[in-house]
Each structure stands twice: as C-alpha cells, then as structure tokens.
C-alpha cells in the first residue's frame, strides 16, 4: 500500500470514530491497573497496543501488550486514554469501535476483559454462518472436545477451521460433510459448500494450507472487513 493510500485509509477511520463517539473505553479498574503496570521500571513510557489477532469460535481473539514508542507504526491510530496512550492498527480498528476494556478481579478470576459490541463479521452472510456455528453446531461439537471457527465466506463457499478434539480426528470429515455442512446449508441456503481448511497433521491451526492448485481464501483472517 502506498503512503498516500495508507494516510487516506487512516484518516477515514479516524473521521469515523470521531463522528461516532469514543473508540475504546476503559472502566476505572482497568485504567487504574494499566496506570499501575506502567509505573514499573521496565514499562515506563510504553504504549498499550490493543490488537485483534483473529477470530475464535465465539469471539475475536485479542492481544493487549505494552510496546516501546519505537514500535509504533505510521498507520497506527493513537488514543489518549487519560494517563496512557493506546495504539491500534487500522485492520483491528473497525472491529474495536465502542469496545470497553474492563479489569475483573474476584475470587474466581483476575484479568482484563474486552467487551466488544461489534459483530464478528461485517458481511451479513458470514455473520449468519457464524451464528449457526456459535449457537447450533459448537455446543454439540464441544461435547467431544472440539470447536469450529468460520474463517470467511467467498463465492458461496464457507471456509471453516476445526480445532480442539476435531483436529487430527479421522472422523472429522464425517462431522464436516454429514453434520456441519448439512446444518449450515439448511440454515443459510446461500451457502453451497463448506470447506475444512484445517491442517489436521499440524499441532497448530494454520489459517489455510491449500493443496497444490487449490484456491486459497483471503490471506488475512480479517481480509474481508
């Protein structure tokens, strides 16, 4: 992307945020905890980067980490949040608008929690497929230790990834063709095919490893947004 295009894209996102309220809010507990963490010697002067790494079965996968100012990039968006600075990359930004960072601490848990009102997918077709996975398919698959994540929909094909107990399972093909495919196509008739992009031999869950000659879906987990 050229510098001119980068700036234009950044300005468009900033304008959109400014016009529609704050992009990311922090509750008092979160603000206090972040300020406290930034007092330590090794974090002093650092920025907080909030990033969407991809999508999980139920929600976006987030990263919150402190970075030195030198790691800020030209197209990052910056937010002053009362005592510390937050940076967000332009790919994550549209999906973080209106998000609220909370710090939860009780007898059972402790940590930051991100409440995000944005839908997982901007595309209505993708959101429909995601809803089927979230409410109808994943509860059943979870009973066998697995989960299914939508990566994207392209040309009426839903590309999914199987994780947990499904990955590497010899019966995953049966679950996909006889269960997942049938349920998605029944609930979302616009979908013609469901394709499993999981590398079942890998210990990780790579986004997509196409067979030779096979088309690959978008190169980024957020490419469509």
């Amino acid at each position: 992307m050229t510098l001119k295009a980068t700036l234009a894209r950044k300005n468009a996102v900033v304008e959109q945020w400014n016009g529609e309220g704050r992009m990311i809010e922090f509750d008092d507990a979160a603000r206090e905890k972040i300020s406290e963490l930034l007092q330590s010697e090794d974090r002093r002067g650092k920025l907080l980067r909030i990033q969407i790494l991809g999508r999980g079965p139920d929600d976006f996968r987030y990263s919150l980490r402190f970075i030195p100012p030198a790691e800020r990039t030209a197209d990052d968006l910056s937010i002053e949040s009362g005592g510390f600075e937050v940076v967000v990359d332009p790919e994550s930004a549209p999906n973080l608008k209106g998000a609220r960072v909370e710090f939860v601490e009780n007898a059972y848990q402790s940590g930051f929690h991100l409440e995000n009102p944005n839908p997982m997918f901007q595309d209505p077709l993708e959101q429909s497929v995601h809803e089927v996975l979230k409410h109808k398919i994943n509860p059943g698959v979870a009973a066998h230790g697995g989960f299914v994540t939508l990566l994207e929909v392209r040309d009426h094909v839903a590309y999914v990834e199987l994780g947990g107990g499904c990955q590497g399972c010899g019966l995953a093909d049966i679950t996909l063709k006889q269960g997942i495919d049938v349920m998605i196509r029944e609930a979302v008739p616009e979908i013609q095919q469901v394709v499993d992009t999981t590398d079942h031999a890998s210990g990780s869950n790579p986004y997509y490893q196409p067979a030779k000659g096979a088309p690959a879906p978008g190169s980024s987990p957020l490419a469509r947004n």
Binding site: K136, I137, G140, V141, A143, H144, G146, Q167, G168, G170, L171, D173, I174, T175, K177, Q178, G179, I180, V182, M183, H200, A201, S202, G203, A211, K212
Partner: protein, 409 residues
C-alpha cells in the same frame, strides 16, 4: 429423491473424506455407519447410523430396519472392519455386493488358503495354529523360512518372517501378545504359518461385475519385502513386469476371486511373482487401503471412490478407464516407536518434480507405533509422471527430504 448410499467406516478410517466427496460430486445422499456415536447426528438423523461391527447379524438387522424407512440403493464398506457387515446387509437388501460368504472367506487368511487349494491353485505349505498351542512344541514341524500372520488383520500387521525354530517361537509369542493387547485374541485366536515365498511383490486392483473381473491397475512394489517385517512403502502403476506375467496375474486374480465367491465389488489382490509364477498372498474384498486410492484417477477425473460408488449403485462403469499417466504412492514408514514431535523438509519434498501432494496423517504430538504392531503410516506421498521409473524416482527423492522427529517414550 436421490439415491442413498450406506457407507460403513471404521473409526480410524483414512477414507471418509474421499468417499464423501465422491458421493457429493455424484449427487448421492450418504448415511455413514460407524461403531461409535457421531457428533451432530441429531441434526441429520438419516445421515448417521450407529452399528456394532462385532455383531454383524444384529447390525445387519439394524440396517434392514433403517432401510425400510430410508431406502438404500447401495452399501459399501471402506475397510476390512465393516466389510462383512456390508456384505450381509447388502445381501439382505438385495443390493449389488460380493456375497457375505465370499467376504467372510476372503477376510480370513486360512479360509482363503483353503478355498484356493480347493480350486487347484499351487499353494505354499501352510498350517493354522491355535493361540493355545505351545510354540516350542510345534516349531520343529514347521517348514523354514516361514511367515507367521494373524488370520484376519490387514496392512502387514503382525506379519513376521521366521528362519528357524527360535525365531518362530519369538514371532508366535509376539503376535499372541499383540492380539491380546489389541483385543483381537477372542475374535480370531489363530495364527497362520506358511512357507516364505521369495520374489517380487505385486498388487492388482480390480472390480468384479457379475463375476467378471476388470483390472483397474497393477501396482509394482519396487522395495524388497523380505522380512522380518513387511512394511509397505512404494506402489507404482502401471507395472514394469513383462506383459505375459501381467496377464498371468490377471488370470490368477480372476480365478481367485471366483474361487472365493467374490462376484460383485472391488478386490485388492497381493501376490508374489517368482520365475514367471504367481503366488497369491491374499485377496481382500475391498479396494486398496489407506489413502493409496488417491493414486488412481479415471476417465473425466473420477476418483476410485467415485467409481466404486457408481458400481455399487449398479451403474455402468465398463467405459471408465484409468488415466494413461504413471502414478504412485509411498506409504511413509514409521522408523521407531514414540511420539511424533516434528516433520522437517515438507516443502522440499513437495517441490520435487512429479510430486503431487504429501499428507502427514499422524498429528504432531500423537504416538507412533511401527510394524508389526502398528496400524498406521506417518503419511503418504503421491506422484505422477510420464513413466513409472520417474514416479518411483520422485517418491524416493521426496522421501529423502523428509525427516521425522520421534521422541522415545
């Protein structure tokens, strides 16, 4: 309403994807019959059927009852495990399939030997021994070198060569322990012992229609299989053996299928060739196992699984031919027992000219067990080229790029 196929598959199946994709391409509805409950079966009740492979008679009744409310046009088993049940169910429903008796005999290596003997085939010396036998007591009466094999296991599992009584006793005890640990001891408490037949090993993939065998492919196995274990590696088709020998193999396969009563369905015959003679090792009442079927491609890009489904549905398949190019597969052997921690060189292997794909079929972090106890390969390499020697070279070169990190446990 579309035709519906009942596809019976083992829990460890390699072939679910290929069969289901082929059925989808042909517009065939599928009911999958497995021995364990399936995820999401509630959402597609006609798509799943729970079966007990250990009780074929009861499961055949279950299939008959199912077929009364959801008519079936064909029944197929993907592996040996469900083959008997598929044959019984097809027979009860009057669907195209090998006979149940033929499948029963073909799945039993001793019954196969007996049927072939009765049909006048030249046979190696053979003898069935009960697991209750004292191996030391019978070792002196065995003809050496010999091969010991469980009666009913596939893919060289438990097959061990013994050259003398001490090796025989060790092999017998090892197979006995293996059958006990895998729970097969009660189902088949026998070991078949037969003379070792030297020579090249070769395989014929065929499809029988109304008793007439059609050759789909002859595979050469260029790696020597001399024991003590018989791990399959490379299969290449077409064969480089003289045409006369290939014709002899085909005629032998046709006679063997007839002798066993395998009259309507796929067969996979394994044989040894020696001085122009063909010695039948086994005749499986199914198609080639594992992912090896991917090495076969037919007219219009049809897969082996697509061909088998069409045949089971009673459709005409006589005009469907295998492609003219040479093709091959290498089953990646497991060098040691342990836990698979990593695979190096995948990209280099896939870049070798002629290599079409590499599939690592055991996930990282999973245990690996070599032969004779193991029942899996690390994965499969597939190649195509103009001539068989180029296919073989591509497979060997690609394999040389791969290294597997296996942590001993």
């Amino acid at each position: 309403m579309t035709d519906r196929l009942l596809l019976i598959m083992a829990d460890e199946t390699y072939r679910a994807g290929a069969f289901l994709a082929a059925a989808q391409e042909l517009g065939i509805s599928v009911t999958v019959g497995t021995s364990s409950p399936q995820v999401l079966s509630h959402a597609n009740p006609d798509g799943f059927l729970a079966l007990d492979f250990g009780d074929p008679a009861q499961s055949a009744s279950t299939i008959e009852e199912f077929a009364q409310r959801t008519p079936l046009a064909a029944v197929l088993a993907a592996e040996d495990e469900g083959a008997r049940l598929a044959a019984q169910a097809a027979e009860a429903l009057g669907l195209r399939h090998h006979s149940a008796e033929g499948v029963r005999m073909a799945l039993d290596k001793y019954e196969t030997r007996q049927a072939l003997t009765k049909a006048g085939f030249e046979q190696p010396w053979y003898r069935r021994l009960s697991l209750l036998e004292d191996p030391e007591g019978v070792a002196e009466g065995i003809k050496y070198p010999c091969v010991l094999k469980p009666i009913n296991l596939a893919a060289s599992r438990g097959v061990i060569r013994a050259d003398d009584p001490a090796a025989f006793v060790a092999a017998f005890r090892r197979i006995h322990l293996m059958l006990r640990q895998s729970g097969e001891e009660l189902a088949s408490p026998w070991i078949l012992v037969e003379s070792y037949i030297p020579g090249d090993e070769i395989a014929l993939e065929g499809l029988v229609s109304d008793g007439v065998l059609r050759q789909l492919a002859i595979f050469d196995k260029p790696d020597p299989l001399e024991g003590p274990f018989f791990e399959e590696t490379i299969y290449v088709t077409p064969s480089r053996h003289p045409m006369e020998l290939q014709h002899h193999l085909f005629e032998t396969a046709a006679r063997a299928a007839h002798a066993l009563g395998l009259q309507d369905g796929p067969i996979h015959l394994e044989a040894r060739v020696q001085d122009g003679n063909v010695w039948v090792l086994e005749v499986a009442p199914r198609s080639i196992g594992g992912l090896c079927g991917r090495s076969l491609r037919f007219s219009g890009g049809l897969s082996l699984e697509g061909l088998l489904i069409q045949h089971a549905l009673g459709r005409a398949v006589e005009a469907i031919d295998r492609e003219v190019r040479a093709a091959g597969v290498m089953m990646l052997p497991i060098p040691a027992a342990g836990v698979l921690r990593g695979v190096e060189g995948r990209e280099a292997a896939e870049r070798v000219p002629g290599i079409e794909s590499l599939v690592i079929s055991i996930p990282i972090g999973h245990p690996v067990v070599p032969l004779p106890e193991g029942n899996q390969y690390l994965g499969f390499l597939f190649a195509r080229a103009d001539i068989p020697s180029a296919v073989e070279a591509a497979l060997r070169t690609a394999h040389s790029h791969l290294s597997f990190s296996i942590e001993a446990v």
